[in-house]
């Protein structure tokens, strides 16, 4: 008889001391993640006077919703760019996941003749980039990616890193027998991929989709490069980034610009307004996490009990 004794700890758990330690460490880590965000929210509700007098503080001298009032008065430009952010993220994520799966699946299939070639083609671009100006020339003059939505979506559609992640995911989770079995049962290539393989790799797809959604949501550099005249297509990130860069530029060049810089600084948004925009940017994407999380966790643990 193996009666469990007092203080004896089950094999698959830690002792109470270790538990407490782990909880403290992870708790502190979680706090470190959440505190900056709370701080941003607090600043966005801080009055300008308070920022001027004591700087950023968890305990501002006075509160104000002025920044949000201003954000809503930005009106069309704001809602338009907010809509653009969603549009670009949704279209971009769907397309890029489709491309990623369709590219990595053949690379996983040992019976694909040009596997080595396509592997190399994608891997090579991870190591050697074309540089900014050549990329710009190709995108703008050759592909016509300028002042349109395509310019904000197409350059990010294919990511070699994601292809490698996805290919590895195929290799580790989809047994080749599965494909042989479906072939024997008479499934064509498309049916095999769509109905047999895809359901198995859902966690992998969720991971890729999350990575891509984040990349599209946070993207502002493409707007900087390719959007020069048509400001109707810029995403919210760029709107915010532009304000930030304007402030940085004026700070850096104030000695050169003199009085001009001081006058231009008047048009810049206040500190609290910037933080209010950050809140606008963070909230939707933070809401997307829980939907992906289920799959991502599953993706981490799947296969762990198999030999």
């Amino acid at each position: 008889m193996n009666k469990p004794q007092r203080n004896q700890v089950a094999l698959n758990t830690f002792g109470p001391g270790a538990q407490a330690l782990f909880h403290t460490v992870l708790g502190l880590f979680a706090l470190m993640c959440i505190v900056p965000f709370l701080f941003v929210i607090i600043i966005s509700f801080t009055s300008e006077d308070s920022i001027r007098q004591i700087g950023y503080s968890f305990m501002p001298l006075s509160w104000s919703t002025q920044a949000y009032g201003y954000v809503f008065r930005l009106g069309d430009a704001l809602w338009r760019s907010y809509f653009n952010s969603f549009l670009i993220t949704v279209i971009g994520t769907v397309l890029s996941v489709a491309i990623c799966v369709l590219y990595s699946y053949p690379l996983y299939r040992k019976d694909f003749k040009y596997r080595g070639f396509f592997n190399f083609m994608s891997f090579f671009t991870m190591i050697f980039g074309g540089g900014l100006v050549p990329t710009f020339v190709v995108c703008k003059t050759l592909l016509g990616l300028s002042d349109n939505y395509a310019a904000l979506i197409v350059p990010l559609l294919f990511s070699p890193f994601n292809v490698i992640v996805m290919r590895t995911f195929f290799q580790t989770t989809v047994p080749r027998e599965l494909i042989e079995a479906s072939t024997i049962d008479g499934a064509g290539e498309y049916r095999t991929l769509l109905q047999i393989v895809l359901p198995v790799v859902k966690p992998g797809i969720a991971t890729i989709a999350l990575l891509n959604a984040l990349a599209f949501w946070n993207e502002w550099f493409l707007s900087l490069l390719y959007i020069t005249k048509n400001m109707d297509v810029i995403p919210l990130q760029y709107l915010l980034m532009r304000m930030q860069r304007n402030a940085d530029f004026l700070a850096k060049n104030s000695a050169m610009l003199g009085a001009d810089a001081a006058q231009a600084a008047r048009n810049l948004p206040s500190q609290s307004l910037k933080m209010a925009l950050v809140v606008f940017i963070v909230v939707p994407i933070a809401c997307a996490y829980p939907f992906f999380q289920r799959y991502v966790v599953a993706g981490l643990t799947v296969g762990s009990v198999k030999g």
């Binding site: 001027r52 700087g55 430009a77 900014l132 100006v133 710009f136 020339v137 703008k140 003059t141 300028s146 900087l224 490069l225 020069t228 005249k229 400001m231 980034m241 532009r242 304000m243 930030q244 860069r245 304007n246 402030a247 940085d248 530029f249 004026l250 700070a251 850096k252 060049n253 104030s254 000695a255 050169m256 610009l257 003199g258 009085a259 001009d260 001081a262 006058q263 231009a264 600084a265 008047r266 048009n267």
Partner: protein, 500 residues
């Protein structure tokens, strides 16, 4: 194969047909400006295009670069040979720096165009500005950009809160008699009156350093933190400075040591806001505090008429700008705002005609700068410009556009402002080394290393936060180790060659 050939031929045919179709319309020329705050330019461009159709023979499009994104957009357009950008803002301090880009062949040499179409332009812009734009470019000595007539001289001033000064029992004349080294008693009294949280000395540390030591910026020096300096003759800016026409390491002079010693004393006494000594917060703190008027003495790189701007009028105090020296014309200021034509442009002639018109025709300049009368501004009974609320959607950077002296006076500036403005800058004297630009290509590595060292010390030293006794020797040693002497020698050799 035949199919492919047929397809190519068909495409070629289509393209020719299209270009014929386009040829009948006016060509479009595009200009890229810096520092704009424009969200709706429809009305303005409509009016501009009506106006220039016959005079220029082209349609205008504008890319409104903002302060933050101009550098990337302009350099990308130029480096990639983008035919969609015909004209681009350039100057001595933007990323598409005038001298470098002209030398590397990105800007069209304008001399022939000026001779053929530029009579009005030459008449509208002072000779000295034409000279300042004459440089050694890809196609030899010549003019590679149209130089804007704006505040073309540099003048650093003390920004004095006269209201508070009077409260302390001093007059403006008392202040004018004082030097930087005598400010202590003023600060102390201000501190006693306004309490501990009040910082009387609101400075831009780098500018303050130039004001006190009489040093000036050397064009082509490290942009983030200047390392080199020529010294100004503070009594007559056009005469040779006390050190002669020699470039010095600005941190190694006795004047600099005296300045940082005094500044450290002010800082220790609590006269300087500590956040002014930190690069990330320095400028924000200064501009924000200026707005509230909570300071006694500040520094301001001055432009004529700045006291009439809303920026100063809204402070709620009486402000006076007390100059340190007469305004002086140096390379940096005289190449402060220009517009060049890109060598990739397919319409250089139309582009030049447009630039010549913009800089000489008040109607066009006013339209593009102030907007449309009745929408963006109205003329009051005295014929002065009063802006409407629509101006918020259309505020280009005035000085970045060209000849601002042909603009009408605004109500805030008062009648006759432009005339005085012209006189003021026409009277400005040039420093002996005007036109000299340090070509740092051979010592670029040293410059990068030196810039990093200087970024670590200079601002905090200038603001007084570091004790010169201990840190200045470290700083100088670090500069020497990073190659200061080689950098200096290169600059001086070029200066000597330039002055002949």
């Amino acid at each position: 194969m035949k199919k492919l050939l047929a397809l190519v031929l068909a495409l070629a045919l289509l393209l020719t047909a299209m270009s014929f179709a386009l040829a009948e319309e006016l060509p479009t020329i595009t200009i890229m400006f810096h520092g704009s705050n424009v969200t709706d330019d429809t009305a303005v461009l409509e009016a501009v295009n009506d106006y220039i159709a016959d005079k220029v023979g082209a349609k205008l499009e504008v890319v409104w670069g903002t302060w933050g994104d101009f550098d990337d957009k302009a350099t990308n357009a130029l480096l990639s040979g983008d035919t969609g950008i015909d004209m681009v803002f350039t100057c001595s301090w933007s990323a598409d720096e005038y001298n470098t880009y002209a030398k590397n062949g990105y800007f069209v040499k304008l001399d022939d165009l000026i001779a053929e179409y530029g009579a009005d332009l030459v008449a509208a812009i002072p000779e000295s500005l034409m000279q300042a734009a004459t440089i050694e470019g890809a196609e030899g000595m010549g003019i590679y950009a149209v130089n804007g007539f704006k505040d073309t001289a540099t003048q650093n001033t003390w920004d004095v809160n006269v209201t508070l000064l009077n409260e302390l029992g001093y007059t403006l004349d008392d202040f004018k008699a004082m030097s930087f080294y005598d400010f202590g008693e003023l600060f102390q009294k201000a501190k006693e009156l306004k309490g501990d949280a009040f910082y009387p000395f609101l400075v831009e540390p780098m500018v303050l350093e130039r004001m006190v030591t009489g040093s000036i910026i050397v064009a082509g020096d490290s942009g983030s933190t200047n390392l080199l300096s020529l010294y100004l003759n503070q009594d007559d800016v056009s005469a040779e400075g006390p050190e002669g026409n020699v470039i010095l390491n600005k941190f190694a002079t006795d004047e600099y040591r005296a300045f940082v010693d005094q500044m450290h004393e002010y800082y220790e006494a609590g006269y300087v806001d500590p956040s002014l000594a930190v690069a990330e917060t320095s400028n924000d703190t200064r501009t924000n505090t200026q707005k509230t008027g909570e300071y006694l003495i500040g520094t301001q790189s001055y432009a004529f008429g700045y006291e009439y701007s809303a920026d100063v009028l809204d402070r709620g105090i009486e402000v006076a700008f007390v100059p340190c020296t007469d305004p002086y014309v140096d390379t940096t200021a005289s190449q402060g705002a220009m517009v060049a034509i890109s060598t990739a442009s397919e319409h250089p002639v139309e582009s030049f005609k447009f630039l010549a018109l913009l800089n000489s025709d008040p109607t066009l300049m006013t339209l593009l700068n102030y907007g449309v009368e009745g929408i963006h501004y109205n003329l009051n009974d005295d014929g002065l410009v009063e802006f409407t609320d629509e101006r918020a959607n259309y505020s280009p950077w005035t000085n970045g556009m060209g000849n601002v002296t042909i603009l009408p006076d605004t109500a805030a500036e008062g009648a006759g402002f432009r005339e005085s403005f012209k006189e003021y800058y026409a009277g400005a004297k040039a420093i002996p080394a005007l036109g000299y630009v340090f070509d740092n290509a051979d010592v670029a590595n040293e410059m990068a290393a030196l810039g990093t060292v200087a970024a670590q010390y200079a601002l905090a030293l200038d603001a007084g936060a570091l004790d010169p006794e201990t840190t200045l020797p470290d700083f100088l040693a670090a500069l020497d180790a990073a190659g200061m002497q080689a950098y200096l020698d290169a600059a001086n050799a070029q200066l000597a060659a330039y002055l002949g």
